[in-house]
Amino acid sequence: MTRATAVSAIARADFLERVRRYSFLFTLGFALYLGYLATAGKLMLRLGYMRGIFNSAWTGGLLSLVASSFISLAGFYFVKNTIQRDRDTRVGQIIAATPISRFTYVLGKMISNLTVLGLMVVILAASGIAMQLVRGEDRHIEFWKLFAPFLLLALPAMAVVAAVAVFFEAIPLLRGGFGNIVYFFVWGMGISLPFAAGTHTLDLSGMFVVADSARNAAQLRCRTAASLSPWI
């Protein structure tokens, strides 16, 4: 029996237990609603006085930002209960009497978190096809351009959130309400600091990446876009 088998067993059981709860559907609905707001033009990413055409690249970039910014907040609170659940359900004492190591257990929980958050991102990404078609500005679907931002921006962000959620649960001080407040401020700083500092280094949500990419694309078409800066 390898450690990988135990890790995957923990992740699978934890994942199934979570996605079969009504609260998962609620969180998923919330993510899709945010996606709808973004494509309906109620959550906008603007480049100066311009916005992108709703083609695959723009839709993918916009929705991946929704994932890396909003799901990284709501998703954290949704997944930050995996170890606590083992305490509450009293399954933990059975697990504690097995030879499984602490590292394997925590890794399994982290992967479960990532799977749950990743599933939200995948569903949001898939909904991007429908949203692009509904918006109808460019009906040509380019899969790589649509999905690459999710793969390169949103999923890594979810991996960070998954690990941070397990870390918060493992530290007694951060386990409860205090940890929730701390995360809210950490998340707020993570989102706003790159703008305040004007640096790309701390761009955890990937907003600068998407904006720069869009601006570069715009520069190819229009020289006047060269002086634009990103803001929402």
């Binding site: 088998t5 067993a9 009293r90 097995t98 499984i100």
Partner: protein, 297 residues
């Protein structure tokens, strides 16, 4: 195969002493651990299950101290805690597959073992139902199944018959009898009839102290010639209880048939009876209380 408990003590915050200098040496067989609620049985089970650390003393599994090296024991341990839980949205198969993987059992072997165990605990019909919809007795049977997944050498079951109906209890006792052989089974309970049928040795724990650890025959011998049946009118039963230890009563047309444990025959027409383990257990508890009260006085 040997489990040795040496001078084991456990204190919780606020100087609450749950265990005091407990000593036990166990080989293959079934130990029935008896004691009233709050005697420290679950604390002892949790220490033996490597969940809780003792305040002092040590536990040796095949000469290896489990506090320092828990893994050799955990690899061969089956543990059913008193208040264990399940994932309510998993079904029996998923839950047991999960625990089998955590216990290090290869997937194919686990699947076969799970089928066997679900049949053994009579849950094959409910295999795909979410555990959240199980009754208390069904959950308890899942607990028993998970404890047996790795065919344990040391099986610790804490109040395993709680929530089981009479038929299931008999089935569980028979299962324990079948399992006892080349393994150590510790069955903790406050229900004497549960251990009477299966225990090869019995330990009695009261207020964290081990007041007896002996063969069932030896415990029975301690009350041999001291158990009587007395028939009294219902109105006289309270007075009889005040004078003597009454282990059980049964109302009949001629009055209350009371089972009395006493060194000498009670007044009136007392008929000697063969002692039961319950008589021996209650007698030991009463002696312990008298000693404790005497020490306080």
């Amino acid at each position: 195969m040997r489990l040795l408990v040496e001078n084991l003590s456990k204190e919780y915050r606020g100087n609450v002493r749950a265990l005091s200098e407990v000593h036990l040496a166990l080989g293959p067989g079934v130990l029935g651990l008896l004691g009233p609620n709050g005697a420290g049985k679950s604390t002892l089970m949790r220490i033996l299950g490597t969940i809780t650390q003792p305040s002092s003393g040590r536990v040796l599994w095949n000469d290896s101290e489990i506090a320092r090296h828990p893994d050799p024991l955990r690899a061969v341990l089956g543990y059913l805690p008193q208040d264990f839980g399940v994932y309510p949205n998993l079904n029996a198969l998923e839950f047991l597959e999960y625990l089998a993987a955590v216990k290090g059992i290869p997937a194919r072997a686990a699947r076969n073992r799970i089928r066997e165990l679900l049949e053994l605990v009579n849950l094959t019909d409910a295999i795909k139902r979410p555990l959240g919809g199980y009754s208390g007795g069904m959950r308890q049977r899942i607990g028993i199944a998970q404890a047996l997944l790795n065919d344990p050498q040391l099986l610790i079951v804490d109040e395993p018959t709680a929530g089981l109906d009479p038929e299931e209890r008999v089935r569980f006792r028979n299962l324990l009898s079948e399992l006892s052989g080349e393994r150590i089974i510790i069955l903790s309970t406050h229900i004497v009839s549960d251990v009477e049928a299966v225990a090869t040795s019995i330990a009695i724990l009261v207020h964290g102290q081990l007041i007896a650890h002996d063969l069932p025959e030896a415990l029975l011998a301690s009350v041999s010639g001291k158990v009587w049946e007395v028939v009294v009118p219902s109105a006289e039963l309270p007075a009889l209880r005040q004078k003597h230890l009454v282990s059980s009563t049964a109302h009949r047309s001629d009055g209350v048939h009371a089972r009395v444990v006493a060194d000498a025959a009670p007044e009136g027409a007392a008929r000697p009876l063969d002692p039961s383990l319950e008589d021996a257990y209650l007698s030991a508890l009463t002696r312990q209380r008298s000693t404790a009260n005497g020490a306080l006085a």
